[in-house]
Amino acid sequence: MTSSSHTHGSQQSNRLQDGGRIDRSKTLTFTYNGKQYKGYAGDTLASALLANGVDIVGRSFKYSRPRGIVAAGAEEPNAIMQVGATEATQIPNVRATQQSLYDGLVAGTTNGWPSVETDLMEYVGKVGGKMMPPGFYYKTFMFPQSMWETYETYIRKAAGLGRAPKERDPDSYDKMNQHCDVMIVGAGPAGLAAALTAALAGARVIIADEQSEFGGSLLSSTETLDGKPASEWVTDVVKELATFDDVMMLPNSQVNGYHDHNFLTIQQHCTDQFADRAPNGQVAQRLHRVRAKWVILATGAHERPLVFGNNDVPGCMVANAVSTYINRYGVVPGNDLVLMTSNDNAYRTALDWHDAGRNVVAIVDSRKNPQGTLVDAARERGITIMVGSGVIDVQGGKRVTGVSIAPLNDAGDEVAGSIVKMKADTVASSGGWSPVIHLSCHTGARPVWNDDILGFTPGATVQKQLTAGAINGSFSTAQALLEGLSAAQDAVQLLGLTEVEVALPVTEEITESKAMALFHIPHTKPTAKAPKQFVDYQNDVTAAGIELACREGFESIEHVKRYTAMGFGTDQGKLGNINGMAIAAKTLNQTIPQTGTTIFRPNYTPVTFGAIAGRDCGALFDPERYTAMHSWHVEHGAKFEDVGLWKRPWYYPKANETMQDALNRECVATRESVGILDASTLGKIDIQGKDAREFLGRVYSNAWAKLPIGKCRYGLMCGEDGMVFDDGVTSCLGENHFLMTTTSGGAAHVLEWLEIYHQTEWPELEVYFTTVTDHWATMTISGPNSRKLLEKITDGDVSKDSMGFMDWKTMKVAGIPARVFRISFTGELSFEINVQANYGLHVWKALFEHGEEFNLTPYGTETMHILRAEKGFIIAGQDTDGSVHPFDLGLSWAVAMKKPFSFIGKRGMQREDCVRPDRKQLVGLKTIDPKVVLPEGAQGVLDPNAPIPMPMVGHVTSSYWSANLNRSIAMGFVKGGLEKMGEKVFYPLADGRVIEAEICNPVFLDPKGERQHV
């Protein structure tokens, strides 16, 4: 028999002339590893590669052995592709079995160096096989530890794990939030029966399936329903489901995560299943975030291959995958098949192969006396059945060329007779089916071993979850349909809807004999000396490796996994884990449930970053907050600084100014005449209620009982541990009305702080908090000419006598009602003008119109920092770090220990550790060389000649060049620093320099505070 008589076209040598669900009238051209091939609409990349006789799709991770396609779905471990026609559209880790073919598709293998056909690493694997036991990477490449990154680079290059694009992805991705009554995962017979039942009862249903069309196993089955091909029933059901408004059908959609409280994430492939780039106006992928009242898992099962010698040689496949390629895609991936099985079901593959007109060399059945409908069908076709036997190894390098078949003993763990060799190019194997329980594990349920089906089924769960079909070990179509219907009826009842009777199609009746529990085919040689028997293809884990791990003392399957790396690939061991557990159990002389199981975690298959990010990228990555004057800042060339989400002007460089030039100019202009700062971002909390004043006294460390209306006061906020966490000025607007300001970054935290104390500790206090940060635009004019400037555009009396330091008043500024606060963060005469945010830009511009004669200079956060440091004012979060209390900061004047209520922080700052005299305290630091600016963060020592590690006494928190003082200034912590005025402290730097500084009062400028009191 020659293959040419069964092929269609010169290239697709393995393509059948008819049959399958492909459209032979639509030829698609695609590129694989730089070569062009043809396939048909309806193909996956995998089926098209097999049609073209491509055997090798990758090189193995550790030994660099050639690998071929073994499966037809999500469980495929080898055919992991890099897809993308251009650099910008690269997608790594795509399973060829799940990628629909489209015209112009460009794919390549992710590993193999220099190519998959000739791979240098193979020789390393061949030579080094014995030297690469499990734990090899840990044992060899981890030392010296400093070299790990170097090793890793080469290991990755050689092993190939795909790569991210270097250019920006041109496509858009979406997220959608969905709510439904019943979420059905899987659209095979169970899922479709469930969907129809739930839909007829009026439930809101979402049904998702990873495949390009609904139908699951029915798409690749030769079974009949109601006497017609099963796919006709599928077509009818899908048509019917489409008539319901409340049914959402999502093909090409992988349910990747099942999270708490019935929250599921679905990655829907939209355009990336038919184009390299999304057409205009469409999204490439969409992430559905579903909250479901009930979930029905109808996820099916994966067939387990058997483990035997050289079972990774291309041509070794899972039995059902072979049937799928024949029946669904019209592709027979070889000429001469040997089928090895421990069960009846896999006989279908030999029947399909035979019926496609190719040669079945033999069915090798591990059981002594198989009986049943399918066995009879094979006999009727004259297929050779070798009972009580196994394929112990295969021959061939880049493709199977022959097999060694031997009789097995009853237990299936020893070879019990002489070997027969046969020619074959394909070995399909089946060790039974493993329910796809992954999603059921995501929420923490432990799977339960079921001896009847030789597999794990979902364990007890607290989720509102039902299961149906093969996931329960109910592998027949009849059972799947029935369980789908009954799970949906349960859901309908639990939802309080009315059940509607649904007629299920009539299935074929077949008899089967019992399957044999067989995972690992013995060899004439001991496992360690036999040809490699692969368990996990993706991580090159062998039976010998698992046995060795067990012998080395790893008894828990979780430890065996980590030691051998079994199940750690992108396929999460979908194909190999059960076989590996069975081998470990046998080695440890235990049952599989005694050995334990592993738990699966999200995601079921790799998810693209695009789907995770959705629209939350670029300008939409994070919200940005702008003040009312933002456009002015942009127009005037401001450089911006991020403060929380705020964009704050940092400094305003002119022409060719360096940053330091700009800062020097801004600092001097402010102190000599007048500067202006956009202070709108300061947090503002409006506090009202008859107990507002009492409340302030409890949350601030200083006193508030006597602050009169019209006055402002600096307040310090501490945690219960006594440590400062925020500060700001709070003003008394009325007897029961205050306006609190906070740091720009701390506003949200402070509001929640006030609320939690009010709601949980002192609900008896009548007080209300409203955030008004965005309601007000705030501009601070500061400098000796600030009053003159303000007087030009206000109707208020801002003279020294009428408006003293720390007073506030309402007045009109530039015709706009304003609150003006005479407070100062620069130590200069200073007014903080607050107007309704909508008027902010108008007032700001008006100030500039009138400020020209005073050289009104805008300054940003950096100049603000310098000016306040010249005055020794702290910035909470820069000069505090959660470990310093007010006394450490020299702010004892802001702590009212005699207040009647034990304010927050009072008890904390009196703990034993908080009253030590040698605590780190904030002091000023003057470098001996005035031109040298200390780096912030530098650690101080008292003796620069002390042996390393030197005892450190504290770090520099703020450090700047002060143009006004023509020298550097700094603040920092020094142990017992407040008692060390005039003493020296040294800062040894990483570059070898040691900067010497003198401990001083942190108020560098105008220590008497005369400038702000004019």
Binding site: H261, E752, S902, K906, R907
Partner: protein, 97 residues
Amino acid sequence: MFHIYCPHCCEYREEEEFHASGQAHIPRPLDPDACTDQEWGEYMYFRKNPRGIHHELWVHAAGCRKFFNITRDTQTYEIKEVYKIGEQPSVVANSDQ
């Protein structure tokens, strides 16, 4: 992601609207100044880390901004009940009964 019933809004909302604020039912001592360092330290720093039933303080931060309590199973993540500040839980761990 949790689906949380806010006892103030009387609706289920997504977890994104809420913040967890740690263990519930830790009253501030009425007279902090009378506490020993040990007592104050226990109030400040010592928290349960149970496997199973746990009472937690949450706030509907992007909603009504009200605090409330949740009884949650830390193993299964089931929310057993929600109740307002000042109320006592009806579901408690066996060890707390």
